[in-house]
C-alpha cells in the first residue's frame, strides 16, 4: 500500500505503528472489565433481578480475558517471550504493569468461577462416566463435599472475590486508559480523563455484549428471557452510556474551550480524518441513536416486543460505538504529526498480519470460546419455552 500524508508530516510519522491490533486490545479488555462489573452487581450489590445473567457475565468475562492479550501478542510477535515479564519483572515499566494487573485479575476470575460453579461440578461429577468423572474430580481438587456449610462459605468467598474484583477490573481497564493518557507527546491521548473514559466505556461495552448475547442465545435456543433482568440491564446500559458519551464530549469541549495550540490541529483531525469514524459513526449514529432508543425503552411504556428489539439493536450499536471509540483514540492519535501541522493516513489492509481478516478472527474467537464454555459452565437454566425474540409475552 502506498502511504500518503497531508501537510507537514515528518518521514518517521508516515507509518502508523500501533495498528488495529492495539484497537482490539482495549476493546476486548473493556468487555472483560465491563462483564465482570455486571456480574458483581448481583454478587456484591445483591441485585436479585440480575441473577439470571450473573454467571453468564462472569464466564463471558473469563472468555474475553483469555483473548485480551492475543492482539498484543500478534502485534509484537515472538509470543514465547510473553512470560519474560514474569521471570524478570520490571516494576517501573508502564507496559509490563498491565501484565501484572492482568495476571492478578485472571486469578480472581478463575477463583470466582471455581467457587460459583463448584455445585455444578459436583453434580456433573456424580452423574458422569469414567473419564469425565476423573476430569471433574481433578477440577474439584479431589474434594466433593457439599452441604449447607460449604455453600455458605462458597457464597461468602464469591462475594469477597467479586467485591475485590471490582477495583481490580477498574484498574485493569483504567490502566489501559492510563497507558494512552500518560503519553504526553500525543495531543489526542494526553489527558487525565482518559482512564475514566476508558472505565465507563468498558462498562458500556460489557453491558452491551451481555445484553446482545443474552438475547441472541435465548432467541437461538428458543427460550424465554427474563424480562425484568433484561430491562434492568438496559437501564444500566442507558445510564452508563450517558456518562461515557458525556465524558467523551466533555473532554473535547474542554480542549476546544482551552483553545490552546493543540486544538488548532485536533479541530482539523475531527473535521477531517476522523469526520466519518468519530463525528458521524461514534457520536452521531452509534451514540445518539442508541441513546434515544434506550431513553424510549427506559422512560416510556412500550410493548415488550418493540422494547426488546430496541434494546437489542441499541446494545449492538453501542458495541460498535465502543469499537469506533477505540479506533478513534488509538488510530486518531497517531494520524496527527508532532509538527501539529499535518496528518498521515492508515488502512490496516485486508490480508496483512495485522489486517482486517485477522482482526475479525481475533474478535470472533472469544465468542466461539464462550460457546464452548457453555458445555462446561452452563450459563442459563435449561428451561425450554416458546420462541420469544420478536414476539410478545406479556
Amino acid at each position: 500500500m502506498i502511504e500518503s500524508a497531508n501537510g507537514f508530516v515528518f518521514p518517521n510519522e508516515m507509518h502508523v505503528t500501533w495498528t488495529v491490533m492495539i484497537v482490539l486490545y482495549p476493546y476486548i479488555t473493556g468487555m472483560v472489565a465491563g462483564a465482570f462489573i455486571v456480574s458483581s452487581f448481583y454478587h456484591v450489590f445483591g441485585m436479585e433481578k440480575l441473577k439470571p445473567i450473573a454467571k453468564f457475565a462472569l464466564v463471558s468475562s473469563f472468555a474475553f480475558l483469555c483473548f485480551a492479550t492475543v492482539p498484543l501478542l500478534n502485534h509484537l510477535g515472538s509470543p514465547q517471550r510473553a512470560f519474560n515479564i514474569m521471570l524478570t519483572p520490571n516494576f517501573s515499566s508502564a507496559m509490563s504493569g498491565f501484565g501484572f494487573v492482568y495476571s492478578f485479575y485472571m486469578i480472581i476470575v478463575i477463583l470466582e468461577i471455581w467457587f460459583c460453579y463448584r455445585e455444578e461440578f459436583i453434580e456433573k461429577y456424580t452423574n458422569s462416566g469414567n473419564v469425565l468423572k476423573k476430569i471433574y474430580y481433578l477440577l474439584l481438587l479431589g474434594n466433593t463435599v457439599q452441604n449447607e456449610n460449604t455453600r455458605k462459605y462458597d457464597r461468602k468467598i464469591v462475594v469477597f472475590l467479586a467485591g475485590f474484583g471490582i477495583p481490580v477490573a477498574c484498574i485493569l481497564h483504567g490502566y489501559v486508559g492510563f497507558l494512552f493518557g500518560s503519553i504526553k507527546a500525543n495531543l489526542w491521548w494526553s489527558t487525565p480523563l482518559m482512564f475514566i473514559i476508558f472505565i465507563f466505556s468498558a462498562i458500556v461495552s460489557g453491558l452491551s455484549v451481555l445484553i446482545f448475547l443474552y438475547q441472541l442465545i435465548h432467541w437461538m435456543r428458543k427460550k424465554e428471557i427474563d424480562q425484568r433482568c433484561y430491562e434492568l440491564m438496559a437501564k444500566w446500559l442507558w445510564g452508563f452510556m450517558i456518562i461515557a458519551v458525556i465524558l467523551e464530549l466533555m473532554e473535547i469541549l474542554s480542549i476546544s474551550y482551552e483553545n490552546t495550540e493543540r486544538w488548532a490541529v485536533l479541530k482539523q483531525l475531527i473535521n477531517g480524518k476522523l469526520w466519518i469514524s468519530y463525528v458521524v459513526m461514534q457520536i452521531g449514529l452509534f451514540s445518539i441513536v442508541p441513546f434515544l432508543m434506550l431513553t424510549f425503552t427506559s422512560l416510556l411504556k412500550l410493548n415488550n416486543r418493540i422494547k426488546n428489539i430496541l434494546i437489542f439493536c441499541s446494545s449492538g450499536m453501542l458495541l460498535l460505538q465502543v469499537l469506533f471509540m477505540r479506533w478513534n483514540v488509538v488510530i486518531g492519535g497517531q494520524l496527527v504529526s508532532k509538527s501539529m501541522r499535518g496528518f498521515t493516513e492508515y488502512f490496516p489492509g485486508y490480508f496483512d498480519k495485522e489486517g482486517i481478516i485477522v482482526s475479525v478472527i481475533i474478535i470472533l474467537v472469544p465468542f466461539l470460546m464462550l460457546r464452548l464454555f457453555d458445555s462446561i459452565f452452563p450459563f442459563f437454566h435449561k428451561k425450554k419455552v416458546r420462541r420469544i425474540f420478536f414476539s410478545e409475552y406479556e
Binding site: V9, L87, T88, G142, V145, G342
Partner: protein, 424 residues
C-alpha cells in the same frame, strides 16, 4: 467445620503453590548476568557483538560488481549503501564464495531482491513538506501527470536507474561547489553598514538570475522554461548549511528521461524520440559521456557559455586574500576547490616551513589540520607516521592494535621511550 472448608484451603493452596513455583522458576530460569548493570542481560551485549555481520559492506559488493560500483559511486546515490535496497546480502556472498553451485536451497536464498515497488523509492523520495527542500522528492501523481505517463502502475525504475539516478557525466564528488547565500557575512567579511535595500541592484535572496543573468534571460526565451526551471537539470545537492554541489548535467540519458518514447508514456507530449535510432546508432558516440543532445539542441535550452555577473572580490583582493583565507578558510572553500589554492601555493613553500618546521609541525597540525590540507594530500601524514594523524577520537582504546600490528617504532617517532609507562 474445618472439613467444610477443606476445598477452600485446597484451592488457595493450589494458587499459592503456583505462585511459589513461579517465584522458584523466576530464580532458576532468570537468565545469567540479568540485572548485573541494569534491567537487561549483560551477556547479550557480547553475544550480539560476536554475531556474524549480516549487512554486507559496499566494498564486498565491489569485489564482484565492479562496473555497478563505479556507476553507483559517481552518481547521486553514492551515499546510499547497497544493503538499503538489496537487503543484507550475507547469504548471497556466502553462496557465491563457497563455489558450491549444487546447493539448490542456498542458491535460492542467495538471490538478491531486484524488483522494487513504489514504496522502495518513495520511502526516501516521497514529497513531504517536512523533508529538506533541496532533497530530491516527488509527488508521484503530479510527476506522472507532468510527464504524461499513461500507466499509473509504471515503476520508477522504468526510467531511473537506481545505480545512476541522474546520469551525471562527472563524479558527484567532483561536481562544482556552489554557495548558498543566506547571510551578509557569507559574501562580506564584516557585517555591512548599509542594508541591502540601500544598495542598488542587490537582491534580498540570491537566485540563479542574480549571478547568471544572461543565461537565465536566454533560457526564458526558450520553450523549456514554460515547463521546467534551472534546478530541474542543474540539481543542487546540499552538503552543509552554507555549501552544496551543483550538477551541470548534459548526459543524453538525462534528456531521455523525458524525451524517450516508451510504451507507458503519452506519444505527443513532451516531444519524444526513438532511441538510439534518432541518432542512427550508439556506435557514432566517441565517448560515453558525450553531450550528444546538446550538440544539436542546445539552442532550445539556453546559451552554454555560462558567465557569472562579475568577480565578487574587490580589486586588490589577490594580495589581501591571505588574511581572509586564514581567518575563514571555509568561506573560500564554498566556491573554490582546494585544488585552486594548490595551483598557486604549491609553487612556493610557505615561509613557516623552515628547517626547524619538522620538529614543531605537530602543534600546528593538531591546531588546524585544514591549513595543512590546503597543500598536502590527506594521506601525506600517513607516509611518515604510518598511522592516522592527528590521532582520531577513541585512539586510546585502539592504540594497542596499532602497536601490535606496526610495532613500537611507529610510536617512538614522536613519543619518548618512557611514554607508554605513563599509563601502563
Amino acid at each position: 467445620m474445618l472439613k467444610d472448608k477443606k476445598h477452600i484451603i485446597a484451592i488457595f493452596s493450589v494458587i499459592i503453590i503456583i505462585i511459589f513455583i513461579g517465584v522458584i522458576a523466576g530464580i532458576f530460569f532468570s537468565p545469567e548476568s540479568f540485572g548485573k548493570y541494569g534491567h537487561y542481560r549483560w551477556n547479550a551485549n557480547n553475544e550480539n557483538a560476536s554475531l556474524k555481520m549480516v549487512n554486507q559492506n559496499i566494498n564486498t559488493c565491489k569485489e564482484c560488481h565492479e562496473s555497478i560500483y563505479q556507476l553507483h559511486e559517481k552518481d547521486a546515490h553514492y551515499s546510499v549503501p547497497c544493503v538499503d535496497c538489496h537487503g543484507a546480502g550475507n547469504l548471497h556472498v556466502e553462496f557465491h564464495k563457497s563455489g558450491d553451485s549444487t546447493n539448490i536451497s542456498a542458491k535460492q536464498l542467495a538471490v538478491m531482491p531486484k524488483e522494487f515497488d513504489f514504496e522502495g523509492c518513495l520511502y526516501c523520495h516521497r514529497k513531504l513538506k517536512a523533508r529538506p527542500a533541496d532533497f530530491p522528492q516527488v509527488n508521484q501523481e503530479e510527476h506522472y501527470k507532468f510527464l504524461h505517463i499513461t500507466d499509473s502502475k509504471t515503476k520508477c525504475i522504468e526510467c531511473h536507474n537506481p545505480h545512476e539516478p541522474i546520469f551525471l557525466l562527472t563524479d558527484v564528488k567532483q561536481s562544482r561547489i556552489h554557495p548558498i547565500i543566506n547571510r551578509c557575512t557569507e559574501c562580506h567579511s564584516k557585517n555591512p553598514e548599509k542594508s541591502f535595500k540601500e544598495v542598488s541592484d542587490h537582491p534580498a535572496i540570491f537566485e540563479c538570475k542574480d549571478c547568471h543573468k544572461e543565461v537565465v534571460n536566454d533560457f526564458n526565451q526558450k520553450p523549456h522554461h514554460k515547463y521546467i526551471d534551472c534546478r530541474t537539470c542543474h540539481l543542487y545537492h546540499k552538503e552543509n548549511e552554507t555549501t552544496g554541489r551543483i550538477y551541470k548535467n548534459g548526459n543524453a540519458k538525462f534528456c531521455l528521461l523525458c524525451h524517450e518514447k516508451k510504451p507507458f508514456k503519452d506519444e505527443k507530449y513532451p516531444p519524444k524520440i526513438d532511441w538510439p535510432s534518432h541518432i542512427g546508432n550508439l556506435s557514432i558516440l566517441q565517448k560515453s559521456d558525450e553531450k550528444i543532445c546538446l550538440s544539436c539542441h542546445s539552442e532550445q535550452i539556453h546559451k552554454m557559455d555560462l558567465k557569472v555577473k562579475e568577480n565578487p572580490h574587490p580589486k586588490n583582493w589577490r594580495p589581501e586574500h591571505k588574511d581572509f583565507a586564514k581567518e575563514k578558510p571555509e568561506m573560500c572553500k564554498r566556491c573554490h576547490t582546494t585544488n585552486e589554492c594548490a595551483s598557486c601555493h604549491l609553487k612556493n613553500k610557505p615561509q613557516t616551513h623552515n628547517d626547524s618546521w619538522l620538529k614543531g609541525h605537530s602543534i600546528a597540525g593538531e591546531k588546524n589540520k585544514t591549513s595543512c590540507d590546503f597543500c598536502h594530500k590527506q594521506n601525506s601524514c600517513n607516509s611518515c607516521h604510518k598511522v592516522v594523524m592527528p590521532h582520531p577520537k577513541g585512539f586510546d582504546e585502539l592504540h594497542k592494535e596499532v602497536v601490535s600490528q606496526k610495532g613500537r617504532e611507529v610510536c617512538m617517532k614522536c613519543h619518548k621511550e618512557n611514554f607508554c609507562g605513563q599509563c601502563h
